[in-house]
Every structure is written in structure tokens, then in C-alpha cells.
Symmetry: C2
Subunit: 659 residues, 2 copies
């Protein structure tokens, strides 16, 4: 068996799967077959018998369209859930070999990729998690590499550039990118859209770069050894031929994803000397692959013994972190905060509350890693934390610079890696910059906490660029994203309890910049926010006539409007709605009891656009909120200017009562 | 008068305005005062008497938080709408001196800035527009520079890095960045988050870099001269001291936006030798500033004469482009397309329709500039266009590379510049990558056309990363963004007619990847889509019992469901809703006539989430759509799997009729 056959096994699994599926992206698996073979058979710390081994090397296919590369590798290594039946159903509905890789660790897929640049930013997060765990538990317990396959597109994307810059700054030496330098993108030659020397750009950012022939398996292997020995993050700039093996397409634009036909598969078999039928890997080729998949079995067993031999307290913590379990006492700590909050003077701002709860959690959860995009002071989440730096990996606060996008995707990588609980913090208006990463978190079901301050026109004079009005709606539109907007410190503690308990859903926690007076003054151990919406004050003096619904800083306005309506003898309830998603998940009976009778008067109030509110307001409902972007001016002036006041809520209720 | 006083005039306008406002960002105006003075008094082609002069040099304040720098400059130059009354009301509600600059060309503000990185990407677009117009009309008619003030944050942002890479590739020699290299960001030292040599990074990207002392006005002026002479885009790396002049804060973290007190203003007066009262610029300082503001008056007059002397046809076109008027015959061309479309065989895909209409418009509108993020073939908008390249500026198609964010912001810059009609094209799933730029377009009211293909699970096997489900809702949430999702080729032509006629609102045009069979077979000259929603087929056989509402590719399913319901004797109307915003703007009577009687049965259908639909469905309404992200598989399988079928619409209507 020639070594080359190991790489060709990848090629033909990819070709056969793509021909059968009728579509696919052959460029990557054919172009990176030797690179992947060098990595997997000679360097990767991986035991195919347990793709979930915590100290395994991580591999991310950032050029996710080349998914057949990953599927072929996992199948060849012997991952049980990636049997040939999966490869043979590539791109069929229900196959684990989906169009792009979808996170499924048991099958060996670390993260979902496809939108370019996300994967290498995830890899950055994995490398940060690994470095932090390594610093906490030592080389014997935690030390692995993080590899990512990457194409030109990932490196053109802004998020990719942010990743290059930040990884270089943080000197993440066990992070290694394998760049498929094939000089082709979807449009054709990379010369259409880029002139710079990518290797030089990475060197400027402090990377170790090795330029190598990507089809020379021995050279790639030597370069990998060099990369592993270097203290800087490494880029293997692998010069490759896209779609190598398909004579009709290789090295050309059509190599990327031009349709493959059975004749192409046959021609490739002749060109590469592969006489085997479709989907058949001969034993003499499969055996060394399976050996590669099993060669770290002993190391995994030894690692398990080293973990078992840790001092009890350390082992307990390590195992807790790996399983993602919350520390003992976390609920009590939040309950204590909730009990004491209503007595607090002076009244706290949303940001202050957010930071205070951060302290409560941080004291219990060393694994809470906070990433922030250059807004340390105004978002108030560094506080007692030390910085995670190139020199000291024990810190739990990552200064991300003004790079929101990589921050979000890094947080995804932290969560995907495991062992840490990531927060990503910035202003709500800038959530759009990290939105593609938030979408990936939702799609993967990663329990990242996306924390935002400055949640409305309440930020005042910095003006409309910094004032979210549409962003709550845009996040509520996202499947599997839990959006939480607490009205005061008590709800904030409840919302944090909800967010922490989520293990398969990211949470967005949104805080006002301005003061949030206490609206929940009577303590109850029950987490009222957990039902999504609840009656904060019932109507008095007869059957409820009006229901006022509000979130966050506008709950106070609803309470004030209620006083005005009650003074006129109108029984008015106030409903606080910290989370629509949770309320939607309640029974229709509960929802009806909160919303009040159908046909009753309901008025919603939120310093944001109406979109989505009609779900709760019904056909006759009124709404007090924003109809446009904001403006520059003091917060109180803006609230009046845009008509978001207790008086406006009252007027809307009265109008509807009369209509 | 010392030259230094010219710079200090900026400083004290900024200090006095910020002290009065009680907040602001002094770091930029105090740190860049000499740089700005060198640019404005010695290099800038600008006539303060007419800030709208088309051939003026453009200046973008990309570090928008330093807004007082721009306001001070415009006031000093003598822009009428920037009187001292405006400066004295900085950050008050209603002042033109808002917290961040808001686009207002008559006042000299070219673009809204604040979210970092957007401004320099806008400047890239302006430089592209200028280069294209220069190529078309020659140096005598169109040739100016584009300058941008830029801070560390803009250059850390991914969009900033995309801009650096693309501008270097396109060799935009008349684009000059003035970098405020003060080594401080909001968190403190830039060393917290970046290690790379920014100048070297720009050199790698093909930029001309001059490193200069930013407080040496003569040196900056010389560097500007050098930059203007160089054929590459230039970065002036200006080493500066943040907040220079405030001894207590300068060169420190607090210099960025730490609160300024009257004592600071007094101390600065003593330090800098500025004995003048607050907001007072002595005549001997104001006079040279006003001279600078007027020194291109003759050039502007000469330019007007050169334009007047152009051959009539050329002058007519040039003036049409500058005013943004549409060419004669554009409506007729779209009408012709609309008339012929229903006969087309084979049935066209959404992408094919989108490209075809592109040809119709492109033939009439040479000013239509198309930017695309490396998806030329699958989005189908290059077609007859030549590429805009470093070597040939006559092309109207910009290969942006895999850089959606800078593409969107570049398109904003093209529109803000004027003279061209920009389209930005990619897959709808990737709109999140350019969303921050789309928000800026909406906020500025720029008539950019954001064109998207691959609009739903209909894309099939590429899977959920590539399948929008929440994105229509997220875009409908955005104020001042017109979202258009045509159902077939006829509606597509109508939607394009609507989008083209918009001059103060961006439009999002969304196309299916899959085939869009003709649902509008009877020609009418009237633009039915212009009302946002309309009755496509009325119920037959009695009063309407059921109203089916749908958009885009789902309109066909609604028509099929209607057949099934009508066959059971249920009078069923189908409403096509290409644009919710336009429908919302109609009279309530019209809306009621389309939606059918209150309490009647309505079922919405869209291959997307429900959020927002309740506005149209009422309390009893039903909805057939997505409740989760998509999946990988053939489109028809996915539609069935997720229950988006004519049968499901029928079943929902029957269920509601019985309830």
C-alpha cells in the first residue's frame, strides 16, 4: 500500500458521495486530501472509539462546504456513527453527512460550519478554552491542539481577519490553521478580489507561517511538527490544486463545486490508479486508517487514570466543568441577591445590576469566561476578573478589542469546546456585528450567554446609531434563541437563573443603561420570570378591564399608567414579559390568564418597534413604542419625544376602551 | 496669528461644547486638531458656500464619536448651517451637532458614523464612485479625493480589515486615511488587544503608508502631499496624543471620553495660550479658516462652466446621474418585461428572473454598480457587466471577495457619494454579515438596493446554515427598510419599479433560488405590488370565507390550497403580500378590504418564522411556516418535512373554520 492511497481513499469517498448526491463541493476534499492524511494519521491526538474524549485535539472544518473531507476522515478513522451508510447518503435528508457539517460530537463533528470565517473563530475559542484549562489543571490533565482547515474565503471575511489579529495577540501556540491555498474561490481566481500576501499578513499579526506543498504528505507532516513546536499560532500555507484528481476541473474555477458525473469518477480512478468500486476502501488501505483512529487509545486510558488520581476537590471541579454542571449553591446565591435587591439604595442602573450579578456568579464559577469588545467600563463585567493574556492564561476576561464578530464566534468555540461557560458582552446596538455568530450559537444549541447593555433610546445623547429599536424583534425572530429583558434587579437575577440552567440554547440578556427602579418589591422564591410573562399587579376593584404588557425599563411606565387608570376606576393589570419564548412555551390556559380576556383591552409598551407584539395584543390591541430610529438627546427628552410615557399608555388604553 | 492657533480653535470649540453638554468624546478632536487643520486649510477641495458641490473632496469621520472634530471644522470653514448656535447646542435634542454625526450634506456631514469601521468602508465606496465617474467623464469633470479620519477601533473591526484588503486590491489611489494612532481605546492601551504593526499590515495589503507626527502640522501637510501623489491608497499613520491639551487626561485612557469640567477648559486655556472666552474664535483665527473654506470658490465656478460646456448628451447624462434621476423609458422597459414574462418557458428560477431584470435595467442605467461577495454565478448579476478593477475603472461590477460586510457599507458609500445606483448582492442567509451596513443605509435613508437570492429552505441540500428562516422578520423589523419578496417574474418587475423609485429608503429584494411559476398571468399596467398586498384571486361562489396570505414562493402553495378549498365550496381568496411596509402605509379601509372581514378565517403562509405575521392574521389566524431552523435535504422533501404545503394550508383553514 502506497501512502498516497491513504489520501486517495479520502478522494474517492468524496467523489463517489458527490456523484451519487448529484451535488457537493469536491474542491476541498480533493485538494486537501494529503494535508488531512498527514494530520490525522501522524499528528492528531484522537481516539475514534470515543469522539467525546475531552482532551482530544479539536479539528474544525472552517471551509464547511468541503464537508465530505470531514465525513471521509471520520469514516476512515473508524468513528462508529460515521459508517459507510452515512457517506452513501451524503446530502440526503436524515443523513449525518449533511450538506455542511452540523455539530454532533458523538459523530466527530465539533461545530457547524458553512458561513465563512465562523469556524476559525470557533477554533480560536477552543484554543482559549484549552489554554485556560491547561493553566488551571496542568499539562498532564489538559493539553491538546486545535486545528482548523481553512480556505481563502474564511481569511477574506472580516471575522477571519479579526481572528488572525486576536489569535496572534494572544499567542495561542497550540492553534494551527491548515490553509488550502488553491488560489480559487467561487468567482474564479483569487486575483479577482485579493492582492495581498496572506502569509505575510499573518506574520504581521505575530503568526508562525510555514509555506508547504499541500500535496507533499511528508512535507506537510514535517510542517505540522514544526508548527506544534512553535510557541506562536501557526499557519500552514499549503499550496494546493483545487479538485486534484478530476482532470477536467482541477486547478480551475469549476473545481470548487462544478457538477461531477460518473465519467469523472471513472476518469479519476484511472488517473490516480484506484481500481476499487464506488464506496469501497480496500482492507490494505482501511487498516492503516483504522490504526490511526485507534493509536491514542492507550493515551486516553492513561489520561483517565491521571484524572482519577487528581486530589478529590480538583477532580470534582474538573469533572463538574467538563459536564457543564453548575456549582453547588448557585441557586441560593441568586436567591440571596434577589431577596436583598429591592432594598438597594441608590437605585441601580441596568448595567450596575448586570455587573453585580456577574460578581455573584463569578465567585462561584471560575469557569465563567467573559469576552468583551472594548467596552469594559461601560458594560461593567470585568470587575474582579483578571485578564486572559498571552503571558497569563489564568485570567477569565478576554479583551477582544473592537471586534464583536470574532468575540461572538470565539464564545461559540468556548462553549463548543466545553469546560467553560462563556459570556460575550457589548452594547445591544452592536449585536448586529456579532449576529452571524449568534445565529450559529442558536443553530448549534450552544449555551453561550450573549449579554448586552444600552438596550434602547434610554442611552440618550449618543444618538440613533447606538440606540437599538429593531434589535429585540430581530433576536426574537431567531429560532432557539432565548431573549431575556429584565425589568429590575429581581427579574435580572431570575433571568440569570434561567439562562444558566439552559444547556442547549443560547441566551441573550439585555440590560438598560439607565436606572431600573425596583418593580418587584415583594420577595418570592419562585422564579416568576421562568414562565416568560406573569401578572405583576392585578387589576383592582372588579373584573380586569385593561391589561398593560411591557418589558424591561418600560414596566415601570406600565405601572405608572396603571395607577392613572385605577384612579379612574378602571381595573388594570400590569404584565411583565421578560421572555416571549418562555411565555410562548407555556400552556394556552396560562397565557390566556395572563393576557386577560379575549376582546379585552390590551396595550403593549416597549421602547422598540411593534413587530411581533401583535401576537400578544390581539386584533384590538394598542402599542406604545418606537416607529422609527431614535435621535440624539437626553433620555427623558427622547422618551417624551417618541411618546413612550405613562400618559401615552393611559391614553391608548382609554382610546381602546371607548372604541 | 500662529498656525497653531488654527488647530487650537478646533480644540476649544470641542472643549467648550463638551463641557457645556456634560458629555462627549474629546479624545479625537483634541488629538487630531493639527491633522484636520493641515487637511482642511491646505489640501481639501471644498467650498463651504456649497457643501453639495458634486466634485468636492469627501471627508468621512469614521471615528464618529469624535463628532466635535467635524462640527468644529464645518463651523470654522463657514458652512452656513453649522453656525455657532449649533456648536453651542452640541448633543441637545434638535441640534445639528448630534452625539454622532448624522448624514446631512447641506450641513457638510457626508455620512452617519458611530458603529466602528462603517465610515472607512463608506469612504471606499465613495472612492469607487469617484473612480468610475472619473473614468466616464474625465479629469476635468470628475476627480476628487476621499479622506477619512480613522481610529484604532475602525481598523480592528473586521469590516475595517475587509476595507483595507479590498481598497489595496483595487488600488484606489485617491483614497487617504488619516489614522489617529493614539495607542488608546476605550479599555485603555491598545496593547490590551492588539500586537500587530498596523502600518505593516496596510503595506501588505498594497497601501502606501506614511508615518508622521500627528501634532506636526507641517509634517502632516507634507505627508498629505505625498499621499496625493502616490497611485496607491494611502494611510497616514499619525502618531498622536489622545485629548492633547487636557493635562489631566491627555495620553491616557480617560482622554477618550472622561468627563470634562469647566476647570479643565480653564487649565487648557492656560496650557495652550488661548485667552478667549468660551465659543469665541477671535477674528484673526477665524479669518484664515474662512479663507480656507472659500478658497475653492473659483474652482467650483470653473467646474460648473466645464460641465456646462460638455456635449449636450454627455451633460444630460452627467446631470441625470448627479441628481439621481432615472433614465427615460425605465418604466416602459419594466412594463415590457412584465408583459412578456408570463409567457416564458421554461419556468424561470427566482435567480434567473433577478438577473434578467438586471439586464433590463443595466441596459438603460450605466450608473447601476453591482457589488457581489464572491457569488457571481449563483446570484446571476454579472451577466453583461465588465468588472471594475485596478486597471479598468469603467466596469460596473465589483468583485468584493468573500467580504459581505464591506460590500454593504461600500454600497452605502456609493449611494452617499451620488452619481451611481448601487446594488449589493449575496445569499439571504449571509445578509446577517452585512446587516450593520444595512442598518446604516436605513438610518441614513440611502437608496441602496440590497439584493438577495436563496431566500428559504428552498435552497435544499446546503442545509440550515444557508437557509434563512428568521431573516425576513429581522429585516421587516428595521425602520425605513423596504422589504420586497416577489412571487414571480411579474411581481419581480413591479418590485424593481418600486425599489428604483425610492430615493430616501433602501430596499431589500429577496429572490428564491428555486423555480417561481407564474402566478400573475393576466397583464395589467398597474403596479399591484405597490400597495404592498393585494387580492391575487378573490373567493368565488359567495362571500369570502377564507383569506390565504402568502409571499414569494409560497404564493403558489396558497393558490393550490385555494383550489382545494374552493372545490369544497369554500369561498377562498389569495392575497399576495410582496411588501408589508407598503401595505402598512395603505389606508385601513384598503387593508381591511384585502384582509377580509374581521373574525374571518385567515391563514398566512411563508417558509419563515411567524414573528410579525399576527399583525395580519388577527387573533384567530393560522400560520403555515417554519418553527425552527431548516435542514439538509432536497427542497421538496424539506417543504413536506416542515409541513409547508398546500395540504397544510387547507387543513389549517378547515380547522379554523370549525373552531
Amino acid at each position: 500500500m502506497a501512502t498516497q492511497d491513504l489520501a486517495n481513499a479520502i478522494r474517492f469517498l468524496a467523489i463517489d458521495a458527490i456523484v451519487r448526491a448529484g451535488e457537493g463541493h469536491q474542491g476541498v476534499p480533493l485538494g486537501m486530501a494529503e494535508i488531512a492524511t498527514a494530520l490525522y494519521t501522524r499528528h492528531l491526538k484522537y481516539d475514534a472509539a470515543d469522539p467525546t474524549w475531552p482532551d482530544r485535539d479539536r479539528v474544525v472544518l472552517s471551509n464547511g462546504h468541503g464537508s465530505m473531507l470531514l465525513y471521509a476522515l471520520l469514516h476512515l478513522m473508524g468513528v462508529e456513527r460515521m459508517g459507510i451508510d452515512q457517506v452513501q447518503t451524503f446530502r440526503d435528508f436524515g443523513s449525518r453527512c449533511e450538506g455542511h457539517p452540523e455539530r454532533d460530537i458523538a459523530s466527530g463533528i465539533e461545530v457547524t460550519t458553512g458561513p465563512l470565517g465562523q469556524g476559525i473563530a470557533n477554533a480560536l475559542g477552543m484554543a482559549v478554552a484549552e489554554a485556560w484549562l491547561n493553566a488551571r489543571y496542568g499539562d498532564a490533565i489538559y493539553r491538546h491542539h486545535t486545528y482548523a482547515f481553512v480556505g481563502d474565503g474564511c481569511l477574506q471575511e472580516g471575522i477571519g481577519q479579526e481572528m488572525i489579529s486576536l489569535a496572534g495577540h494572544l499567542k495561542l501556540g497550540r492553534l494551527i490553521l491548515l490553509w488550502d491555498d488553491n488560489q480559487i474561490t467561487d468567482d474564479g481566481s483569487t486575483a479577482l478580489s485579493i492582492s495581498e500576501d496572506v502569509a505575510a499578513r499573518c506574520r504581521v499579526a505575530g503568526w508562525h507561517v510555514v509555506e508547504v506543498d499541500g500535496h507533499d504528505l511528508e512535507a506537510v507532516s514535517a510542517a505540522l511538527a514544526e508548527a506544534k513546536a512553535d510557541p506562536r499560532p501557526s499557519l500552514l500555507a499549503c499550496r494546493t490544486t483545487i479538485a486534484k484528481g478530476i482532470a477536467r476541473l482541477q486547478g480551475q474555477r469549476g473545481g470548487h463545486s462544478g457538477k461531477l458525473f460518473p465519467e469523472d469518477a471513472q476518469a479519476a480512478r484511472e488517473l490516480l490508479g484506484w481500481p476499487h468500486p464506488a464506496f469501497h476502501i480496500p482492507p490494505e488501505v482501511l487498516a492503516p486508517w483504522r490504526e490511526a483512529g485507534a493509536r491514542h487509545a492507550a493515551e486516553r486510558a492513561a489520561w483517565q487514570q491521571r484524572v482519577a488520581a487528581l486530589p478529590a476537590a480538583q477532580r470534582h471541579e474538573f469533572e463538574r466543568l467538563l459536564t457543564g454542571a453548575l456549582p453547588e449553591g448557585w441557586q441560593e446565591a441568586l436567591l440571596r441577591y434577589k431577596r436583598e435587591a429591592p432594598a438597594r439604595e441608590p437605585l441601580p442602573s441596568g448595567i450596575f445590576i448586570s455587573g453585580e450579578i456577574g460578581d455573584v456568579l463569578g465567585d462561584l464559577m471560575p469557569e465563567r469566561l467573559v469576552a468583551c469588545a472594548d467596552l469594559e467600563a461601560p458594560t461593567n463585567h470585568k470587575r474582579r476578573l483578571a485578564a486572559f493574556t498571552a503571558e497569563d492564561r489564568r485570567g477569565a476576561y478576554v479583551h477582544c478589542g473592537v471586534r464583536e464578530h470574532v468575540m461572538g464566534a470565539m464564545a461559540n468555540g468556548l462553549a463548543a469546546h466545553g469546560g467553560v461557560v462563556p459570556l460575550a458582552v457589548t452594547y445591544l446596538a452592536f449585536s448586529d456585528y456579532e449576529r452571524p455568530a449568534m445565529r450559529m450559537a442558536a443553530l448549534m444549541g450552544l449555551p453561550v450567554k450573549f449579554v448586552f447593555s444600552h438596550d434602547s433610546i434610554g442611552i440618550g445623547k449618543n444618538g440613533p446609531t447606538h440606540q437599538p429599536v429593531e434589535i429585540l424583534a430581530s433576536l426574537r425572530a431567531m429560532p432557539n434563541m432565548l431573549v431575556l429583558r429584565p425589568a429590575d434587579a429581581v427579574e435580572a437575577a431570575e433571568c440569570w437563573a434561567i439562562a444558566l440552567a439552559q444547556t442547549a440554547t443560547p441566551a441573550t440578556l439585555v440590560f438598560a443603561r439607565q436606572t431600573l427602579p425596583h418593580v418587584r418589591r415583594v420577595h418570592t422564591d419562585a422564579n416568576l420570570s421562568a414562565r416568560g410573562a406573569y401578572v405583576l399587579r392585578e387589576g383592582e376593584g372588579g373584573q380586569r378591564q385593561v391589561t398593560l404588557l411591557a418589558t424591561g425599563s418600560e414596566v415601570l411606565l406600565a405601572l405608572q399608567a396603571r395607577e392613572r387608570l385605577q384612579a379612574q376606576g378602571i381595573a388594570t393589570a400590569v404584565v411583565s414579559m421578560p421572555s416571549w419564548e418562555l411565555f410562548e412555551a407555556e400552556s394556552s390556559d396560562y397565557r390566556a390568564s395572563v393576557l386577560g380576556p379575549a376582546g379585552g383591552v390590551r396595550v403593549g409598551c416597549e421602547a422598540a418597534v411593534r413587530l411581533g407584539w401583535d401576537r400578544w395584543l390581539g386584533e384590538r390591541g394598542g402599542f406604545v413604542g418606537m416607529r422609527s430610529f431614535g435621535a440624539s438627546g437626553p433620555a427623558d427628552v427622547l422618551y417624551r419625544h417618541f411618546g413612550i410615557t405613562a400618559e401615552a399608555i393611559e391614553a391608548e388604553a382609554l382610546r381602546l376602551l371607548k372604541s
